[in-house]
Amino acid sequence: MWIYEKRLEYPVNIKTPNAKIAKMIMSQYGGPDGEIGASLRYLSQRFSAPNRICMAVLNDVGTEELAHLEMVSTIVHQLTADLTMEEIEKSGFADYYVDHTVGIWPQAAGGIPFNSCEFQSKGDPITGLFENLAAEQKARSTYDNILRVVRDIPEIADPIRFLRAREVVHFQRFGEALQSVQDQLNAKNFYAFNPSYDTAVTKNPCDCNTSC
């Protein structure tokens, strides 16, 4: 289960509203490569992890993504809370405003609501880990895109840079998890069977030394 800690993983203190930027950053909340998708992807996939390294990585990265979705929604909230009607109308924010005022609701910048099609949980750990490696790169690219626009606004760029750096680290961890899964399979044919369906979990924690 999850316990709440009353702080953000990295501080967000934005003083100046900006509806245009908020609309873009919203994509990292409810968009195709955003943090809600990341969190649900990993927390869903963990049930099909074939070993405890993989379970731990999916669980613990998925948990960190919850902290990230909180940061992104905080950024959007602080960018929109004090908007005037004039700013809302001029900045292309009116479409969102009419349905949500300046509330927070997960959607992509282009308007598609968050939905499960934005991630996959295939029930196959090799497939899942490749999906996750790609997901971290997609998120990194999205933050790159955001940074091109906000790089000279430190109060926004700072937390965005932090989030981007974390994607790179997660990518590394998923690579290691993939390695651990492949190490337990026949090196001549990783695809001979689906270790999450065709066999049970291979080791319990008491047996763990170097290869869980």
Binding site: Y4, E5, K6, L8, E9, Y10, A56, V57, Q78
Partner: protein, 102 residues
């Protein structure tokens, strides 16, 4: 009592709320990043020692913060030595720090 060789400065009363939160943020981040690393490198003893050290700093700072400012987790509510329900009443992390707002 834990014997962690913390060397914490948080015992002093002159540390500000912001400085204490900074210590919590940094130790917590170092701890969590190391947790992820240990998930795939469970035998790295040095990493585990670093994890323990950051945990110690973090827990000490969280307790200090609870005593002076408010509980950041429900388990720290008892450390506030206060009868008021600070968990709800102290600011929430997304609140905007500006004039006219909480």
């Amino acid at each position: 009592m834990m014997n962690c060789e913390c060397n914490c400065t948080c015992q002093k009363n002159d540390i500000s709320r912001e400085q204490l939160m900074d210590i919590i943020d940094q130790a917590s981040f170092a701890q969590y990043d190391m947790l992820l690393y240990l998930d795939t490198h469970p035998d790295d003893a040095e990493a585990f020692a670093y994890y323990r050290k950051q945990t110690c700093i973090r827990e000490d700072a969280l307790k200090q913060y609870a005593q002076h400012y408010g509980p950041l987790t429900m388990d720290l509510i008892d450390d506030t030595c206060s009868d008021s329900w600070k968990w709800m009443m102290q600011p929430w992390p997304w609140e905007i720090k500006k004039k006219g707002r909480c």
